[in-house]
């Protein structure tokens, strides 16, 4: 059992959805992001996704792009991600890293995996890496005991969902809508359909992301998914300050507890 398997088993036992919060490392500064991520853990995120700021984030909307730019301008270096993960883990939190693949490739896939595991990180979410191209990462994650979260989308064929979940461990990331990251008023109705399509191929937990920003939406998503993933809304709150981040976490944490999570 990996630490993520444990986490989802525990949350499932409580009959609720898990709350996963995303924030880029180094935003607004490395220490600033550690403070914010720690607050997210304390206020009720079951898992945090520590983002790696990247020069060409093609799957991100303006909010996360701007945060990544700011982090890079403030001097973020890739190795800072390990310090960030280590600090979150030391504060009792659980962290995975969400990153475009080129920084990992450049660092060395095995070296990155080794250093992430040593920092207490639990795995990687890889938005621009599909299992078909992931040979090095499949090997390194196995060698260093890390979980691998690949993404599925409403446009994924049954065949691709099957092969993607077969390569995944920890949890599957279902992108709720076709589009880039960014808070939305309405989480796509397609999300629920996608989750049931995924469940036909795996018993792994399924997290839904892209667009969630309120307790109401969190409750709605927790009604059909195992985890609610929130990104841009946290980045927006972070621009206001740590209190806003705590308040958003509390609202979302209440949301995922409102409706019983589906069994299985």
């Amino acid at each position: 059992m990996s630490a993520l398997d444990d986490l989802f088993a525990g949350v499932n036992e409580q009959g609720r959805g898990a709350l996963i919060g995303y924030l880029p490392a180094g935003y607004p500064t490395v220490d600033g992001s550690i403070e914010l991520l720690t607050a997210m853990v304390e206020a009720g995120c079951d898992l945090v996704e520590v983002g790696v700021p990247y020069s060409d984030p093609v799957l991100d909307g303006p909010t996360i792009q701007a945060a990544a730019d700011e982090a890079l301008r403030a001097g973020f270096r890739l190795r800072d991600v390990f310090r960030t993960v280590e600090a979150v883990s030391a504060a009792g939190g659980r962290a995975v890293v969400m990153t475009y693949f080129n920084p990992v490739l450049r660092y060395g896939v095995d070296a990155f995996s080794r250093d992430l595991a040593a920092a207490g990180g639990l795995g990687l979410i890889t938005p621009d890496l599909i299992p078909d191209e992931a040979e090095l990462w499949l090997e390194a994650s196995t060698a260093h005991g890390l979980d691998r979260t690949f993404l599925v989308a409403p446009s994924s064929s049954e065949e691709r969902i099957a092969s993607t979940v077969a390569a995944t461990s920890g949890f599957v990331y279902a992108t709720a809508v076709m589009g880039v990251t960014g808070a939305r008023d309405v989480v796509g109705v397609g999300a629920q359909t996608l989750v049931s399509r995924v469940r036909a191929h795996t018993s792994l937990p399924v997290g839904v992301g892209l667009g969630v920003r309120s307790g109401e939406q969190a409750a709605q998503v927790a009604g059909f998914a195992d985890a609610v993933i929130v990104g841009s809304a946290f980045v927006t709150a972070a621009a206001t300050g740590v209190d806003a981040v705590r308040a958003l976490t509390a609202e979302l944490a209440e949301g995922v507890r409102r409706t019983p999570a589906p069994i299985g």
Partner: protein, 418 residues
């Protein structure tokens, strides 16, 4: 050097669409390069495009219509023109220009655009998006969309909308919407990012008409094949005019489409050197350049593994060139494979060298080249001097320079004191 034996000539040597030994594997890998480093949300669209292209390239109805458009609309075959007065400055070697500047819309870009626009119609899609740097690909795309009745949106870095204002006006006149991109370096790389974001959102209705032989599979092989006609024509024309193969074929390399198109005509002629000229900007040691193959390292950008300008942390670094069409930190994956195999060589020409060649060709031959193509001309001057008076060089003159008049006038001080 003797021409290729007609007996052993492969189908792919004369039919640009026929599958052949230089195709990547089924997942788009040229050795370690290429592939699909793309969000899962786009894989369905890439699969659809691959399937459609694989059918179309073998379908006489498609290939005939494509060939007809190249002839009756784009004006192919383009000429092969000797440039003797220019060649006096190239060590006396003979220099021939493959006149892609004479194509409709003024550059090689139209070849690829007509092919992909036809595919868009076959897929039943009604909306086309594209990125553009110099504006040539945007203009070509807007043109094909006007011709075929497709909606057209072009993403263009804000910096480029300023230095290529004329092309922005052309695209608008042709009915396209031009969206200035304000993120990142505000040039070609960021225009591609923004186009990919649009594609991921609208993929059901929209085809992304990528303008160079880069990106995730099948773009590199598909774009290459649409441009192979350049090399096929050039080879036949030089044999016809000089009765021998050239010593070197020279082309500028931004993303690599005009270069891969002309290189392919000569790939199986081992005696022909294939020379790509990258933008040396303010000098490759200045850090301000776009010499991806010469000074980059392998990595991922825009969906493929290839050489890349990047820092220690794998962040893409900004390219620089006076030429908007070459100002790109990535390059098509097949060029990376050709470089590693030693089959092609890649050099750089600085802004100053390119602008020297730009003016020289204008004054010696009465042909104003695109600044992109002027990089290839600068390379030809250097190669000609290395080869000496017996040398024979074919240059891909990928585009004409009308769009660059403002940049050139400023560079040469034509606006001053008048």
């Amino acid at each position: 050097m003797s021409p290729r034996d007609p007996e052993t000539e492969q189908e792919a040597d004369v039919d640009p669409h026929a599958p052949g030994p230089h195709d990547p594997d089924a997942r788009g890998h040229f050795g370690p390069y290429g592939g699909r480093f793309m969000p899962e949300a786009l894989i369905g669209a890439l699969d659809e495009l691959s399937a459609e292209y694989d059918k179309a390239r073998l379908d006489p109805e498609f290939t005939t219509e494509f060939t007809r458009l190249l002839r009756d609309y784009a004006g192919r075959p383009s000429l092969l023109t000797e440039a003797p007065r220019f060649a006096e400055h190239a060590g006396g070697a003979r220099v021939f220009l493959k006149r892609e500047d004479l194509n409709h819309t003024g550059s090689h870009k139209i070849n690829n655009v007509l092919g992909q626009a036809l595919l868009t119609k076959r897929m039943g899609k009604k909306r086309v998006i594209a990125e553009t740097g110099a504006g040539q690909h945007g203009v070509a795309t807007a043109t094909a969309c006007a011709l075929m009745g497709l909606d057209c949106v072009v993403y263009m870095g804000e910096v480029d909308t300023e230095r290529q204002a004329l092309n922005v006006a052309r695209m608008k006149l042709l009915g396209a919407e031009v969206i200035p991109v304000k993120s990142g370096s505000r040039t070609l790389k960021d225009a591609i990012n923004e186009a990919l974001r649009d594609w991921v959102t609208n993929v059901d209705t929209t085809h992304y008409l990528l303008g160079t032989a880069a990106g995730g599979h099948p773009f590199p092989i598909m774009v290459r094949n649409f441009h192979k006609i350049i090399g096929i024509e050039a080879r036949a024309q030089i044999l016809d005019q000089v009765e021998r193969l050239p010593d070197a074929v020279v082309a500028c390399v931004g993303g690599g489409s005009n270069a891969i198109g002309i290189f392919h005509g000569f790939l199986d002629d081992p005696g022909v050197r294939l020379v790509g000229i990258e933008p040396g900007g303010k000098g490759v040691d200045s850090g301000e350049h776009g010499a991806t193959l010469g000074h980059g390292t392998p990595g991922i950008l825009h969906g493929a593994m290839s050489y890349l300008l990047q820092d220690e942390d794998g962040q893409t670094t900004e390219a620089y060139s006076i030429s908007a069409g070459l100002d790109y930190p990535g390059v098509g994956p097949e060029h990376s494979a050709l470089k590693d195999a030693g089959r092609a060589e890649y050099r750089a020409a600085t802004d100053a060298e390119a602008m020297h060649a730009f003016r020289l060709l204008s004054r010696t031959e009465g042909i104003i080249p695109a600044i992109e193509s002027a990089h290839a001309l600068a390379g030809a001057l250097e190669l000609g001097r290395e080869l000496g008076p017996d040398g024979l060089v074919v240059v891909n003159l990928s585009g004409r320079g009308d769009k660059d008049m403002d940049t050139a006038a400023k560079y040469f001080g034509f606006y001053e004191g008048s």
